[in-house]
């Protein structure tokens, strides 16, 4: 059934190829012309005529680029449409910032950020290692592991479920930032305190979601298992685990974005002088926004890779679920 829908979709779109690529290239060329038009001037001395020309080129280029991209994205899959959209946006932003002469202390242009990214790559990669590998990843793994264990225990022992689970819901709604200063004060400035913050952040969504998933198993299927005289362990593996997987992956995805934020926010309450959060805070204080944005770019790329990895696992393990049936 799914394959029939897929062939129908290609038939429908395949019938009108459309000149999307050409329109997109035209838009991109117009945007590049807009940037080139004001490239050689310092930011505070762009002549009004040049500025107006650049603005007109940007409006035209964006219009052409977006409509071309929309036509193109109907037929393309993967990350290419998103990358093209980013390219369009970046060139347009570069043109706008240069045409308006926005000072780099407010918003730096993309080329300045790229330069800063290249120049301070050694420092920033060291920061990324501390923040991502030690704080976010280790904390995430610990939080997810503990969360699954506690969820299994809660489903196995009804006493725990009735006694402790309501508290899991309560604790899940505590804001981490309120927790962060207390934990940093208690566990010191080194990276483990931040990993603990991340683990606590990730723990509660995992517990709540996994318990919900394990208990949300279709009662008809459980009855069916009973009539087949399947052992409880096998019934658990065949019915409850699959029904919990979509909920688990939902929690994992939410946790992956929260993990990085938790690690970075934790660093604002004290570090030993390394980490992306520390770098962002200290360079923002010096109005050195090129490096701040470079650090943000690195954090975003890491977060995206993290989320992508989990989505890939989700597609492999829960491809049968109704919510993913259409997305392929």
């Amino acid at each position: 059934m799914a394959s029939r829908a897929a062939t129908l979709a290609t038939d429908r779109t395949g019938r009108r190829p459309g000149p999307g690529g050409l329109v997109l290239a035209l838009g991109l060329a117009l945007l590049l012309a807009a940037v080139w038009n004001v490239w050689s001037f310092p930011l505070d001395a762009v002549p009004p005529g040049r500025k107006a020309l650049s603005l007109a080129l940007i409006v035209l280029g964006l219009g052409a680029g977006v409509s071309g991209l929309a036509a193109l994205a109907r037929r393309m899959t993967g990350v290419l449409p998103a990358l093209l959209a980013a390219l369009l946006a970046l060139v347009a932003v570069e043109g706008l910032l240069r045409a308006y002469g926005v000072p780099p202390g407010l918003i730096p242009t993309p080329t300045r950020v790229a330069t800063a990214l290249y120049r301070s790559r050694v420092v920033l990669l060291g920061d990324a290692r501390v923040t991502f590998v030690q704080e976010a990843l280790l904390g995430y793994l610990a939080g997810v592991g503990a969360g699954i264990v506690v969820a299994l225990a809660a489903v196995r022992f009804p006493f725990l479920e009735r006694g402790a689970l309501p508290y899991a819901g309560l604790f899940a709604s505590i804001p981490i930032v309120a927790l962060a200063p207390v934990i940093v004060k208690a566990f010191g400035l080194e990276w483990p305190s931040k990993a603990i913050i991340v683990a606590i952040t990730v723990f509660f969504p995992v517990v709540v979601n996994v318990v919900r998933g394990l208990q949300g198993a279709n009662p008809l299927l459980l009855d069916l298992m009973r009539t087949y005289a399947v052992t409880p362990a096998a019934a658990f593996r065949l019915v409850r685990v699959p029904s919990a997987l979509p909920f688990l992956f939902n929690a994992l995805k939410i946790g992956s974005t929260l993990a990085l934020i938790g690690a970075i926010v934790g660093e604002f309450f004290g570090t030993t002088g390394q980490g992306l959060g520390f770098r962002i805070q200290i360079e923002a204080g010096r109005f050195n926004l090129d490096i701040v944005w470079a650090a943000i770019v690195i954090a975003s790329v890491l977060g995206l890779a993290f989320y992508g990895a989990i989505s890939w696992l989700e597609a492999r393990f829960t491809g049968w679920h109704a919510s993913r049936r259409h997305s392929r």
Binding site: A70, A73, R74, M76, T77, G78, V79, P81, A82, A85, A86, L106, R162, G163, Y167, G169, L170, F171, A172, S173, I174, P175, V177, A178, P181, V182, K185, A186, P205, R212, G216, N250, K253, T257, L258, I261, I264, V265, F268, F269, L276, G277, I280, Q281, A284, A295, I296, A299, S300, V301, L302, G303, L304, Y307, A322, S323, R324, R325, H326, S327
Partner: protein, 279 residues
């Protein structure tokens, strides 16, 4: 539930003594005047305890929340943060639902924007907050509104992802049934997809509420602010006033719990067909 609470409370006292005894011993060894003789006795008197003794906690709770509506008291600042969070949550809900509808109806839109929506979540807001405050300030937007916008910025994503999954969740059988009824796309959306997405909406709203709370507190820490829990956290963290941090944390926890509980109440009213199910 009460047994577990009693057990935790019973374990708290020895745990507190054990954790604080080391620090107390160290300050005794350094010859500080604490007014107590042994490490165990001092464990309940430390000025910056790792875990505060219950008596200390109750005392600071009382001093910090009386009178409740003074500018320096915690309840007043909690109310300020709550207001920012609620406005942010409202913006995030509207934005999230619109985005989810756009994501589900247009594959082209999803392919172009979804990776960047995800990427936007990993941008540490604390870095954007001061810039947002400056840029918005140029257009006359000041005070609580920038914080609400930052809260909305963090909170819209769980709503969008959750509602999008919910809109795609109806059983294929039900979709086929509506096709045999010759229902239009709009009718299918209104009568099947939207109700099917409501449970997902509330699940993600609970996540979004805590996210929005985090957002407004972070925004208060990193922008210029004169009230709110975040401003009190930043001040007391700099002053290393651990007891005050604990009190603020308790209030923040209370606020988070209250927000989620309120959403749970609304969920029961809006989706009564799920009310009997375990959650």
């Amino acid at each position: 539930m009460l047994i577990v609470a009693a057990l935790t409370l019973a374990l708290y006292w020895p745990l507190m003594l054990w954790v604080n005894a080391g620090a107390a011993q160290r300050s005794l060894d350094s010859g500080a005047e604490l007014g107590c003789a042994t490490a165990i006795a001092c464990a309940t008197q430390l000025r910056n305890p790792v875990l505060p003794a219950p008596a200390q906690l109750v005392r600071s709770l009382r001093t910090m929340s009386v009178p409740p509506l003074a500018v320096t008291s915690v309840p007043y600042n909690t109310l300020v943060t709550a207001g920012e969070t609620l406005v942010g949550l409202l913006i995030a809900t509207v934005l999230g639902i619109l985005l989810a509808v756009a994501l589900v109806t247009s594959r082209a839109f999803e392919r172009v924007t979804l990776p960047w929506l995800i990427a936007s979540q990993t941008v540490p807001v604390i870095a954007l907050a001061p810039m947002l405050a400056v840029v918005l300030g140029q257009y006359g937007v000041q005070g609580w509104l920038p914080k609400a916008l930052i809260a909305a910025y963090i909170a819209f994503f769980p709503v969008a992802v959750g509602v999008a999954a919910g809109l795609r969740s109806p059983d294929p059988m039900q979709e086929d049934l509506l096709t045999t009824y010759r229902a239009s796309g709009w009718q299918t959306f209104w009568k099947l997809r939207l109700p099917a997405s409501l449970p997902f909406l509330f699940t993600s709203l609970k996540v979004a509420a805590t996210a929005a709370l985090i957002g407004s507190i972070v925004a208060e820490i990193s922008t210029i602010s004169f009230s709110g829990l975040g401003k009190m956290l930043a001040e007391n963290s700099r002053a290393s006033d651990t007891l005050a941090l604990w009190v603020i944390m308790l209030y923040g926890a209370g606020l988070g719990i209250a927000l989620v509980a309120a959403l749970g109440l609304i969920e029961r009213l809006v989706t009564p067909w799920r009310a009997g199910q375990p959650r």
